[in-house]
Symmetry: C2
Subunit: 479 residues, 2 copies
């Protein structure tokens, strides 16, 4: 298919600018539905959010299947329905490539009393920022997709690709039911998907857009140590027994060096060496590590250069100790000898580390430490959960189209970034479609996803809508 | 005053046996008042409990002063009245010595759903055990005092000492208001108190009574370490900064050796050496350290002999790590880098350690460790609270009378014990009266004070009443 003329881009962008107040109003409608997937009492709101989105999609001519996602078993034993998943289809032209779009309709919990300046489920605009739970994670991006399609339709543009949509409403609580639903439709709905675009992360900074081609994996561990059948009073029993907390803090103290180096033997053996090409990527990225340090008010960073810090966050493993379950964790003082304590830590993994290998190294090391300790207490290690790291080919047409779209809207090439965290859907979609997955974020690093006063800048919401429309047009290249 | 004839003891004991069902019924009345001092909503019940007790005392001819204890400021900012304190006086014969009796009328919280087999605020008798919150801590002993006096009156016995009573209703929440009230009455109500008897602890075992002459003190510390302005996502930020948890677990791991030895230099310097006389006390005590180990289902004890374990619990310092505030402490997994963590530990102290000296040694050691660590994070140590250890003269007439009373009731000499924990009122009363304080427990080690299914054995409740009556009669020696 020939390249779309610049004029078409201009018309589309102008139309988006002209309709921006309407788009913000639609986002306001979506934010008013408190679709908190982690709160079973909000399940009807989740269903309402799914149905609201279905209606918006159908108004654009998208054919929508409502996929029942099964049941959820709550901690109290109750069983409730998972919110349904939306599978959408727009265009079935066999001559065109097919792009899958993923997004989620659920949000993190939010209460004004948590420290919000405004009602979290009411969009409030202030100084060009659209505040409200879900504004950036992930209702804003989902609605940007809907508006991008709407304007392309309005302008009578022949979208150069077929589109598929997967919108779920359980992402914030582990996407329960999604993988099974996708797997069940691997050979029909997912068949012929040539590439996937996910808008569910953030720019590295506040100004420059990026495309994301890698994520770290995770291996999460529990170390259990117990010394008695129940908690004991430290006055009455102090001096009687070897206490579990002493063993546990010692074990945890042996995991890393002060400079962050993981002390587990051979843990770095399978980490891919840094190539010269890769080094260049980090050199070119717009990132000020001193500003980053100041933003989080850290007293010091583990590395002294931009490139080293980015690599430490994205392409080297790291180990964090998260906390201890079973010990006293409240404010004030309690004179307790905790009888059973569970230390929790995780390792962020990178290619070519596998959970199987990492589990083995971690457990071997901890067993050796425990033998060295010589404590009579009971000890156990649990490999609690894991996820693979993900890195994809950023020279794929998917990324080329994304980059050109960004250049058109922002006048700059994107940075190519990875993320330190995990977005398991990327791996799942890559595996099930067998094709390229790209992360195309439209929100900025200071959007406060999951936190109080979540927002998306109005300009990013609108420019993001343009970027998504432009990305679809740029894919004319591949049809 | 001549010794009381054995016949009198027999008459008193027989009367107590004859009235035991009435005594249990009175205890049942007291337990039905949920005087939970830690729950502001239960404050009226605390007041009711105080007034119920006042009435019982007045029925015996005890002259009672109701001492207003002032106000309590709650965490939510509300200010409510503390429950009043009862000061009782029975006898003002200048030729007699004066004994002060202390007890408390409030209880720990209790809910059936916590794991009680019966309603906690309803006395239920089963297999000779009287279950209910407060049965052993401390309503049972207070009511044993009331019945002891009641029977002495009934039998027309001239009590050989004057009696003073201090019954408070805030003991379980730090005796707020008590010390000030006592201090205000140091020169009137407390004047001329020659000795004090406190029944608010427990036998070492289940069968043999004891008298308690020592308690350990406490020095409680917080170590704060912070690495950033707020919690960070371990995926996004892992590998960026030296994490506070790593520093903290390392510091905590340096506090003790596996065998419980405290690694703080000079911490043992001021511990009183064990004398040969003292060794003998431990040798004679009825205590099976292997049974003790099995009771708490510990995998191992820090020492291998009875004497060493008792000394470790009572007359040597011990250090326990209680927990960490600010880190993840819930079940399941959270991928957080805690920004500020507070490690909590305490040292049980013994004569002649003082909080001032211990604070200095602890802070010096931690500062040295921190310098050795070389972390760029922020660190701070707080000496959170402290209390002095207490040891008294167990050859005092107070103890001699207690011992003879026990011999009369149980046919055995008591064990002379210390406790590992603190009962600050002992130190306060010793200081304000300038005289001997004795702990005379009537409950057994398995009474589950503060825990679910608190109980007192019917036999101990009744034999305890006899012991208290006999103790008063034995004090004829000193008048």
């Amino acid at each position: 298919m020939p390249a779309i003329p610049d004029e078409t881009y201009k018309n589309v962008f102008d139309a988006i600018d002209a309709r921006q107040n309407e788009f913000v109003a639609t986002l306001k409608e979506a934010l008013a539905i408190p679709s908190v997937s982690g709160d079973p009492a909000r399940r009807p709101d989740c269903v309402q959010m799914v149905m609201w989105t279905k209606k918006k999609m159908e108004e654009l001519g998208i054919s929508v299947q409502v996929i029942e996602a099964g049941k959820q078993k709550l901690q109290n034993g109750d069983v409730i329905d998972l919110p349904p998943i939306l599978f959408g289809t727009l265009g079935t032209d066999e001559k065109k490539k097919t792009v899958l779009v993923y997004g989620h309709l659920d949000v993190q919990p939010a209460n004004k009393t948590d420290g919000w300046n405004t009602e979290p489920f009411e969009l409030v605009e202030k100084d060009g920022k659209l505040f409200g739970r879900g504004s950036t994670d992930d209702k804003g991006p989902v609605i940007a997709w809907i508006h991008a399609i709407s304007v392309l339709k309005q302008k009578g543009v022949d979208i150069p690709v077929n589109l598929k949509f997967v919108f779920e409403c359980m992402e914030e609580t582990g996407s329960e039911g999604l993988e099974e639903a996708l797997r069940n439709h691997k050979d029909d709905f997912l068949k012929n998907v040539d590439m996937t675009c996910v808008s569910d992360n953030y720019w590295l900074g506040k100004k420059k857009p990026c495309l994301t081609y890698g994520l770290r994996g995770i291996c999460y561990y529990f170390i259990e140590v117990s010394c008695a059948k129940q908690d004991l009073h430290s006055g009455t029993y102090g001096g009687s027994i070897p206490e579990a907390m002493n063993d546990l803090v010692w074990l945890l103290s042996q995991l890393t060096d002060l400079d962050g180096t993981i002390r587990i033997p051979h843990i770095y053996d399978s980490v891919e060496p840094v190539t010269d090409d890769e080094k260049k990527i980090y050199e070119e990225i717009d990132f000020d590590h001193e500003e980053y340090r100041k933003d989080i008010r850290a007293h010091s960073l583990l590395k002294t250069t931009k490139e080293e810090i980015l690599m430490n966050r994205w392409r080297f493993p790291s180990l964090s100790i998260h906390g201890i379950e079973g010990a006293y964790s409240q404010p004030g003082a309690k004179t307790v000898i905790p009888n059973k304590v569970i230390g929790k830590f995780s390792i962020r993994t990178v290619p070519n580390m596998t959970p199987k290998d990492v589990d083995k190294l971690v457990i071997t090391y901890l067993n050796e430490l425990w033998a060295q300790r010589g404590s009579p207490n009971h000890y156990n290690v649990i490999a609690y959960h894991s996820g693979m790291p993900w890195v994809t080919d950023m020279k794929h047409v998917n990324f080329r189209a994304g980059a050109r779209a960004i250049k058109r809207v922002f006048g700059t090439d994107p940075d190519y970034t990875r993320e330190g965290g995990s977005i398991p859907i990327c791996l799942t979609l890559q595996e099930l479609t067998g094709n390229n997955v790209m992360l195309l974020p439209i929100g900025a690093c200071d959007d406060m996803a999951h936190s109080q006063n979540e927002k998306i800048d109005r300009s990013n919401f609108i420019q993001g809508t343009k970027t998504l429309a432009a990305y679809l047009l740029e894919l004319a290249e591949c049809t």
